[in-house]
Every structure is written in C-alpha cells, then in structure tokens.
Symmetry: C2
Subunit: 413 residues, 2 copies
C-alpha cells in the first residue's frame, strides 16, 4: 500500500485555538484511493523546523504533501525550503507571473511587488493551477519521492487537489478501487445496533465496517476494496444489502443528510406542513427544521412554552391537567402537540416536554426524562424517553428523537 | 524562550474524522507559562515512525511531550520506543503494579495479565500519578532533554498535566510570568474595532494583542510578560485600561462567557423576564437563551412565526400591516416584540424578522436584511441590519445582534 505524509505549515497552526481541517480532508481523499497516511506534522514559519520535517519525511515516505506557506510574504517559506532539501533552483515562471498580473489588473489594482514571489517554481516541477486564489501549487517528482505543495485556504486546496492531484495519485496507488457506503440511523443505541449487525459484518474482512456513534445518531460505514471498481462494488453490495435489511427503518439516510433535511424532504414529498411546541428543547427543533433552506414551504410556526403559564396561555393546556399530571407528562406532551397542530393549521404537530437538568429532577422523574408526542391527521403518537448525559446532550437527543418520530409518522402518510 | 514539541500517538488519530484536542490544550497551558510549541506530530501505532519522530525531536527541542500509547495492549508502544531512543531499561514498578491490582480488585474483577505492562517504567524516570485511569505518566530527565509521557484520554491527561507537570515546567521556563485578559465584544465589525484600538495597542510590543473575529463577535486578547507576576500585571493593566475605555459598552464579557450567559446574568440581576418572537432565526434565540442552566427563572415563552398566518394568529399582527409593510419590516418587528411581551407577561419581548436566504431576497430587501425589535416597559427599540454571509451566518449574526440589543436594554433598567 502506498503511503504518504502531510506537513502543514504556518505559525497560526501552532496556536491553542486552531483546528487543522485540511489534513482530515486529505486523509479521507487519500484513504479513498488506497493511500495510507503514516504521519502528520505541523510546523510554524520556521525555516529550520520545516527543513528538518521535510528532510526526514522524504527519507522514510514516498509521498509528501505540504499545506500552506505559498503566499506572497516573507513568512511563506515552503517553496524555498523544499527547493533547498531537493537541491533544486527556484526560477521565475513567466506564465504564472503574467496570470498573477492579469488577476490584479482585473480587480483594477496594481500587483504588489512581493506577489511575484508566488511565480517562483522549482526547476522540473509541474504547476498545479489555482482557479480560486493567487498561489499555484507544485508537484515535484524526485528520485524516490513525490512532493506536492498545496496552498493553505481550504477553498483553494480542495479544488486543486481534486482536479490536479487525485488522478495522478490514483495511478500511483496502482489503481486499487475503493468504494464506500454509509447508513445513518436513529433510535438504536450503539451497543444495540452493534449486537444486531456484528454477526453479519464480522464475517467480512473486506468490506471493512466502521461504526461511529454520536448522541442520538449512529453511522455505519462500509469500505470495500477491489482490483477494479466492479469487483469492489460487488463486494460492497453483498454486505450492504444484509446490513440494510437488518437495520431497516432505523436507517434515515444513506448519505451525509441530517435528520432535519430528511424530515424536510418527506414533508415536501408528502405535501405536508409542520409546527412545534417545545419545552425542554427550548426552540432547538424549530431551529433545526428552519436551518434547512426552503423550509418555509413546510414549517409554519413554533411555540417555546418554557413556563407553565405559557403552556396554558399559548397552547391552551388546562391548568388542572398541568397540576394533576405535572408539566413533564404524556398528557401534556399530547395536549401540546394537538394544540399546536390545530392552532397552526398544519398536517403535523410535534411537542416535547422534559427535564434537561442540571436541576429539576426527582426520583419519579429524573433528569433526562422526556415526553415526545407527534399529532397527525389520524391520531397522536407518544413516547417516553430517559436520555443520559448533560443538559446539552439531553436537549440534542430529545430533538433527534422528536425528528425521528416525525420521520416515522411521515413515512406512514 | 523555552521550546517544546508534542507527539500524539495512535492510529485512530490518522483517520479522517479525528480532531486532536489534547495538543491545543497543552499549547494553551505551555504558552501561558512562556513555553513555545515549535512542532506537533501525529503518528500511528507504528514503531519505526514513532522512533523516528522521537529521535528527531530530541535532537532539536529541549522538551518533548508525548500523548497516548500508554495502554495495556500490544499497540501501546510509547514506553518501549522512548526507552529504546534514550537507551534505558524498562523495569516493572512494584508500587504501580500493586495499585493497578487494587484498582481492579475494587471493581471486583481479576486484573488481565496484559495490564501489568502499564507498570513498566524507564529506569530513572519520575512517575506521574493518574487519579482518573490506570496508566501512570512518566517524566524522564535526560542529558539535554525532558521527555514527558502522558496518557491519551483528556480526562486523564489534563489533571495529570496540571498537577504534576505545570509546576516543574514553570520552573524550567525560568519563572517568566504571563498574564492575560480578554474582552468579548459585539456590535463592531473586526475592521472597525481594529481602527479604534490599533492606534493604542500598536504602541506596545508587550503586552501582545490578538484579535479573533467570529460572526457577530470579536475578541481582543492581551498577553503581558514580565519577570514576575506583579510586573506582568502592571504592564497588562496599562494597556487593558485604555482598550476597555475605548471599546466601552461594546464589551459584553471579560471572560469566556457567551452572550446568552451574560443576558441571563443581567435578567437574574434585574429580576426581569423575557420572551421571544422569531421569524428568520427560527427559534435560535430561544434555543440559545434556554441553553443556559437555570434559564427557566427568566425565560417564559417563545414564538417561531415563520409563516404570515402564524404572525397574524399567534402574535396578532394585523393582516393589513403585513400586506402594506411586508413581513420583513420595522413595523412587524415592533409589533411582534410588543405582542409577545404582553401575551407572555414578561419584562422584555424580543423579535426578529428577516431574510436568511438563499432565496427570498429582492433589490429593496436583499438576503441578509433583518429587523430586530426589543420591547421593554418604557418603549420599543428597533434596528435594521444587513448581514453578510450564507444562511447559517445570517441567522447566527441576527441572534447575536438581538441578544446584544437585549443586553443594552437591560443595562438601562
């Protein structure tokens, strides 16, 4: 298996607040064509450290990808250091220079002199065009190494990598084909999901199965590897079909879609509308539903009835019911869902009432107790949950469970 | 200035989805006592790569901190590799072994044999106690290097580092004192904020000024360095006083507090209550306000009136007003704020109506147009905004501006 290293360059990357996301993106792309990432390094704008990092990487790993340090300032040292380690000259490329000048002219400004630095290239290198910024990338083929210099901004790095690097790297990797698929599920905790599918996927080394659990959502990813795409897809399908059959309607998406996007899609498909009445989630379900562009087609209105008074006044819950059952009860959840559905005149009304903590719990109704109801034209579904975790996690899981209940109701319509 | 490197160890750290947060934490701690982080590396559970990384680091940097690879399995290679590079023996430490056995016994289980591996220490190393897990850390003082081995789980790494490493590192760093302060502001874009304070802070090399801009919020951080704490604090105060005077009421917090926490604090302080009526923010303001533990003391209720019908029915906005002014108007924002304040019976009513995009904009009211109104016992404040960015950014900035307007009204009460 071909292996690669990544070096990210820039002093800002060594500050306490900076998360490097470029290397995660590159790792995903590289793994997808069968190239393993063996080491990642982050260095500042320091010539000695960068030289050391580049030199050692070249000695042990065939492919090196550097990120950043290609800008027009003194700080941008990547070209210079890679040239030094590879013992190559830096020469001014007239074509790049002319392109840079045109770019500035189009914006009606004179090109600052230091931008000419971006037209310097190592002798014998291939130029990777940058259609989203000024700094071109470079690909240098040395005796035992391929060195790829990419710009730091993700909006420049990603299109450049996909257009100019992936095809060449795929060839270098020997044309191993990798295909992937993904199932996003809600409603099954990780351990229960694993208990269901482990007997299936453990029979296969290829495809490889990865399970990724977040609060209220578990993802199953399958990656198959083959001599060609057809072989990989055949292997993937054999396992994927079995997993899909077993997980069935716990699967809400087969792509990177969120639950609110899936619910929105169903609402549009069924010509249905929705309204919300939330207590402990405090508006999170409305916020998630309206986070989807175009949600005004189906989202009408929401209530956040945090106090008992607002449950009575805004949603018309009888005071006696609140007193007898308590605000966190099946009856109040049902009442809220039905009331908001009628008042807003929507197909679906969804309501949540619960105890998110950290205070407010009791022996009978501990922190994490949540009642969710979904009112539809044919009746009202209710479920009671006990979510683990802190306030944030409880609120999130409650919103996730509510959206999943809505999804299941919409599938029936 | 003393310098350090960090090596994080573990194959999971080289997968596309893993963000390393330990090194950010360590960087913040180290910078705080005047130690610079010069390089960070991430390697898998691979003996050759780890050995290479450790060897090269020791040759160039006096302090090396490793994270992870101290567990009980074959994969956990950190102790072995560091011992090899430093040419030391690994010996079984009876005390650690006994402690491990006690730990398992307390849980009523037999210690698995491979856990004994965690009791192996390098000759001449200091043991860093782990009160939150099984693997102890190690501190090895070599001829020119200090090598610190820490466990990977943040819940074990952080307390160990603070208790056993920070005091020693502070001494090693020569007792340079660093003090910091921070101002969080809302309502001033980064460029305008910088134009105001650059004439002040550029006069000072020490303290150092860092400006960090996020949508709807700009942070100013000052770091002063002195021979002792008193000197550093004196230097910090001189600049901080001037910045604080200049930014004045744009500052909403002097710590890591969020705007919703600050608004919550004011509401409690003033004995006031709040309700919300949101269109384009879709519940985000209610969600942020109720994200704060204890918010039930002041948050009563919220409306998400996304459709025109819901603005009429739920908030009682006259149809004629909606027709004449349009839903996105000063009049509707004022009407919503006043209506929710009266209906919910709260001190404050805040309302937002706007166009979050991507569609729905016009020449007169482009995407990003947002009207915000805050109704109080003494009247209603209104402001119109035009926020840049995509849907998510516009919604976030609108919620930020609304909370900031509420903060300013509360300061007057």
């Amino acid at each position: 298996m071909l292996s690669a290293e990544i070096i990210a360059i820039g002093s800002e990357l060594l500050t306490p607040r900076f998360q490097d996301s470029n290397s995660l993106y590159l790792t995903e792309q590289l793994n997808g064509i069968g190239i393993a990432v063996m080491m990642k390094s982050i260095v500042g704008d320091d010539e000695n450290f960068l030289e050391d990092a580049v030199r050692h990487s070249l000695a042990r790993t065939p492919v090196l990808i550097t990120i950043g340090g290609l800008g027009p300032t003194e700080d941008d040292i990547t070209r210079k250091i890679v040239a030094r380690v590879l013992q190559r000259q830096l020469v001014l490329n007239g074509e790049i220079l002319a392109k840079l000048q045109r770019r500035f002219k189009a914006r009606g400004v004179e090109m600052p002199a230091n931008n000419a630095r971006q037209a310097l290239v190592l002798t014998g290198s291939d130029i990777l065009e940058n259609n989203h910024g000024t700094a071109p990338g470079l690909w240098i083929t040395a005796e035992k190494n391929h060195v790829i210099l990419l710009p730091g901004p993700p909006s420049e790095l990603k299109p450049m990598f996909e257009a100019s690097c992936m095809p060449r790297l795929r060839d270098l990797a020997g044309g191993i084909a990798l295909v992937q698929c993904m199932f996003r599920t809600a409603g099954l905790p990780e351990s229960m999901l694993d208990a269901r599918i482990a007997p299936i996927y453990t029979k296969y080394q290829n495809p490889e199965t990865t399970i990724l659990a977040k609060p209220g959502q578990v993802e199953v990813r399958l990656t198959a590897r083959g001599k060609n795409r057809e072989e990989a897809e055949r292997l993937l399908k054999e396992l994927a079909d079995q997993i899909e059959h077993e997980l069935n309607d716990f699967i809400f998406a087969r792509s990177e879609q969120t639950l609110e996007e899936v619910v929105g899609m169903y609402l549009v498909m069924k010509g249905a509308t929705i309204s919300t009445a939330e207590s402990c989630t405090g508006g999170m379900i409305a916020e998630r539903l309206t986070d989807v562009p175009g949600s005004s087609r189906y989202f009408r209105s929401g209530l956040v009835c945090y106090s008992n008074e607002s449950k009575m006044e805004l949603a018309g819950i009888p005071p006696l019911l609140l007193e007898m059952q308590g605000a966190v009860s099946a009856e109040v959840a049902r009442g809220l869902a039905e009331a908001i559905r009628v008042r807003a005149g929507t197909t679906i009304g969804v309501a949540v009432t619960g105890i998110a903590g950290p205070t407010g719990g009791s022996t009978e109704k501990p922190v994490g107790t949540v009642h969710i109801a979904v009112a539809t034209p044919t009746g009202t579904e209710h479920r009671q949950f006990l979510f683990p975790g802190d306030r944030d996690k409880i609120r999130w899981q409650a919103s996730q469970a509510a959206l999943d209940m809505v999804r299941r109701e919409l599938m029936k319509i």
